[in-house]
């Protein structure tokens, strides 16, 4: 619908500003921070349009490399999205990690994470997945986020949030942005990368945004100026199409309402498949504890399957997943969930 609205306006194709479409960047900041956010209302932030999540992450990485002289190390959760490491490395930063996923329980190694984070040298950069951790699907609970924020603040770490699934994770955009908002409320001026690839299905249009929360609007202006200097020699200015669609949706009340329903629809389907997978496994007679499948959230699920089991699934049942036992829940349908459960039971019983 947004595409049709845009087409009817017959707009030109003139270059966007380096920082992108203003309607889009403003709406992105509001979506992430919340319309009642003090940081948003005071204008002590800068948001630039980025080439989806990757491009936004890269702008931030380059920005840190150029201006954050206090630290060179970026701490990623173990494991993290495969592309995080090369992005930061290519930007000229160094990679470290903190414990995150506990393979014994297929859930969060909270004690391990807190332990590692408490020992990260001050002024290091820590990357956190805002929601729907990729690849594990394991997110901290709100209580755990509170403790993480306190520790991170005590260690004086620079926080970089990667939020690629707002709305897509729980179905509720505010719930999925809770951690980001909490950190900011605690006085932590975070960096944030957003993607509209999944939550608006705009994958190939490359709609994304990079935000820096600043001390005040003045600092935000200075940061914006430097971000533009970084962006111009990369691709001059960003592509319009995806950003205009996203902006139209976010800024048109009826469309925004529809979108919230649609993104919840996607999230609900994923959540439904998780539930059905677990119940089908029980039906198959599996004695294993599969609770982590429904505890985890988002597109991906770390099943806990071992490499040899994964191999059997591929060879004997034509089910494809990564060697670490990660499945894409988006690939599960009501048509194949029983088959999937059956196969998993066969290789784990």
């Amino acid at each position: 619908q947004a595409e049709a609205m845009i087409a009817s306006k017959k707009m030109d194709k003139e270059y966007l500003p380096i920082g992108g479409l203003a309607d889009f960047t403003r709406a992105s900041a509001e979506l992430a921070l919340g319309e009642n956010s003090e940081a948003f209302k005071s204008g002590r932030y800068v948001t630039v349009q980025g080439i989806s999540g990757t491009g936004s992450l890269r702008i931030g990485a380059n920005f840190l490399q150029r201006f954050f002289k206090a630290g060179r190390d970026v701490y990623l959760p173990k494991p993290s999205w495969g592309n995080h490491t090369p992005i930061f490395r290519d930007a000229g930063l160094q990679l470290q990690s903190y414990r995150y996923y506990d393979p014994r329980t297929c859930s969060l190694d909270f004690a391990g994470a807190m332990d590692d984070i408490a020992r990260i040298p001050e002024k290091s950069i820590i990357l956190l997945h805002a929601c729907a951790h990729n690849p594990t699907g394991v997110d901290p609970r709100q209580e755990q986020w509170k403790e993480l924020a306190a520790t991170v603040k005590k260690r004086n770490l620079l926080v970089y949030f990667d939020m690629a699934y707002q709305g897509f994770a729980s179905g509720d955009i505010n719930r999925d942005a809770w951690a980001v908002r909490h950190f900011i409320e605690q006085g932590i001026n975070v960096l944030l990368s957003q993607s509209y690839a999944k939550n608006m299905g705009l994958y190939g249009e490359r709609a994304g945004a990079f935000t820096v929360i600043c001390s005040d609007a003045e600092e935000a202006k200075r940061v914006e100026s430097q971000l533009k200097i970084l962006i111009r020699p990369m691709y001059s200015n960003p592509p319009l199409n995806g950003a205009r669609i996203a902006a139209t949706i976010l800024n048109t009340p009826e469309l925004r309402k529809e979108w919230l329903v649609e993104v919840k629809g996607m999230a609900d389907r994923i959540i439904g498949m998780r539930t059905q997978l677990v119940s089908n496994l029980k039906k198959e007679g599996s004695s294993h504890n599969w609770q982590h499948i429904t505890d985890q959230i988002g597109m991906f699920c770390f099943t806990g399957l071992k490499p040899d089991q994964v191999d059997r699934l591929t060879k004997e049942f034509s089910i494809y997943m990564t060697k670490d036992g990660r499945i894409s829940v988006a690939g599960v349908t009501s048509g194949n969930v029983a088959y999937l459960a059956h196969a998993i039971h066969q290789v784990t019983k």
Binding site: A4, Y15, T54, N83, Y203, G204, L230, P233, S236, P239
Partner: protein, 374 residues
């Protein structure tokens, strides 16, 4: 950016048509493109640059990377060269840009990691033309394997291109000195109205056996400025080399933007792949090029009629969107402050800003500036 005679932006009719086709095509979705881009776009874009009968295409030794505009193509090429050309991570290899050049060239190569950006003589202010001798001398003196950024046509900002004969001399020196040609082709078709003519230099270098990069932009010739449609054409020694280059470029793309935006590439690919649409596009491009050429000849004839001091053949000798008028900074200031005509301190004007309605005013203003201010 291009402007019509009414001073308005112009969405090409063929683009409007193709966008409608895309909107009506229910088989299309917004899924990710491959890392290197839309295959039909890449192949057609490179074919446009190199020519249908390119020996390099026939010999299967070309590669293409869809990029975010010409800038994105330059950046991917620069990143690759810094990592893999002339040794590994060779930040010391000199990169030469023309004096003057598009101001972003410098930043692209600096941000890609090169530490030694130099200029080569290009614009001769005294004779208002190409300083060929200076250029050739710089190439003779350049360390072997230096990288040279060459404007394929419609040099930005001077509008002054080497003649085919001059290109031949340039190529000869570059071959002998083992210098790497990195073409920036932002105006193919838009400059002369002929795709072949505007690609002559690139194709000549290919026929001379060079390995080269050509950063292409479809911003101007398709009027797709904000869709960020560009292509990096790679011409290598053989298919094997090209495959390896593309494989490394994929890694660079992956950490820069993962995969490129689909909308603009689809428009270009659909247009180039259809003989009918291609013909329509050609007409649209010629419309733009012809208007600019008309403005040039009209401006020059007015200045000559007015008897404005100096020679004004450079207005029609130069080509493309920009023209180095030869006005000095004081005269430029006069134009801006007194006549409200906006141009760069270098004396560069955007020919697209001229219309049949303002030609007289602009010509008179230039006349005043030149006669009143020295």
């Amino acid at each position: 950016a291009y402007r019509t005679d009414e001073g308005q932006p112009w969405v090409l009719p063929v683009v409007k048509k193709v966008e409608q086709m895309i909107a009506n095509d229910n088989s299309l979705n917004h899924e990710y493109l491959p890392i290197l881009g839309l295959p039909e776009f890449r192949a057609n874009a490179s074919r446009i640059a190199l020519g249908d009968d390119s020996p390099a295409i026939k010999e299967n030794r070309i590669g293409s990377v869809q990029a975010l505009g010409g800038t994105g193509a330059l950046r991917i090429g620069a990143e690759f060269l810094r990592r893999w050309y002339n040794g590994n991570n060779n930040t010391a290899t000199p990169v030469y840009v023309s004096a003057p050049t598009w101001e972003n060239h410098n930043s692209v190569f600096v941000d890609a990691g090169f530490k030694d950006i130099r200029t080569y003589h290009y614009w001769d202010a005294a004779k208002r033309g190409l300083d060929l001798q200076g250029l050739l001398n710089d190439m003779e003196q350049a360390p072997e394997f230096s990288i040279f950024i060459l404007h394929a046509c419609a040099h930005n900002p001077t509008g002054t291109d080497p003649t085919p004969d001059q290109w031949k001399q340039i190529a000869a020196v570059m071959k002998r000195r083992c210098l790497f040609p990195f073409f920036d082709s932002a105006y193919q078709g838009f400059a002369s109205g002929s795709l072949d003519k505007d690609a002559w230099a690139v194709r000549y270098f290919v026929s001379e056996g060079f390995e080269l990069f050509c950063a292409q932009s479809f911003s101007k010739n398709f009027g797709l400025y904000n869709e960020r449609v560009g292509n990096l054409t790679v011409v290598g020694k053989d298919a094997d080399n090209v495959q390896r280059v593309l494989s490394q470029m994929e890694k660079i793309v992956r950490t820069t933007w993962s995969n490129p935006p689909s909308q603009g590439a689809r428009i270009v690919a659909t247009t180039l792949a259809s003989p009918q649409l291609f013909a329509e596009w050609y007409e649209n491009v010629k419309t733009m090029a012809d208007r600019v050429l008309l403005m040039r000849s009209e401006l020059r004839s007015r200045l000559e009629s007015l008897g404005t001091p100096g020679t004004w053949n450079h207005i029609t000798d130069q080509i493309g969107m920009f023209s180095f008028t030869g006005l000095n900074p004081k005269q430029v200031e006069y134009m801006i402050k007194e006549k409200h005509i906006y141009l760069m301190a270098s004396g560069r004007i955007n020919m697209c800003g001229l219309t049949t309605k303002n030609l007289d005013y602009v010509a008179k203003s230039i006349h005043e500036a030149v006669t009143k201010i020295q």
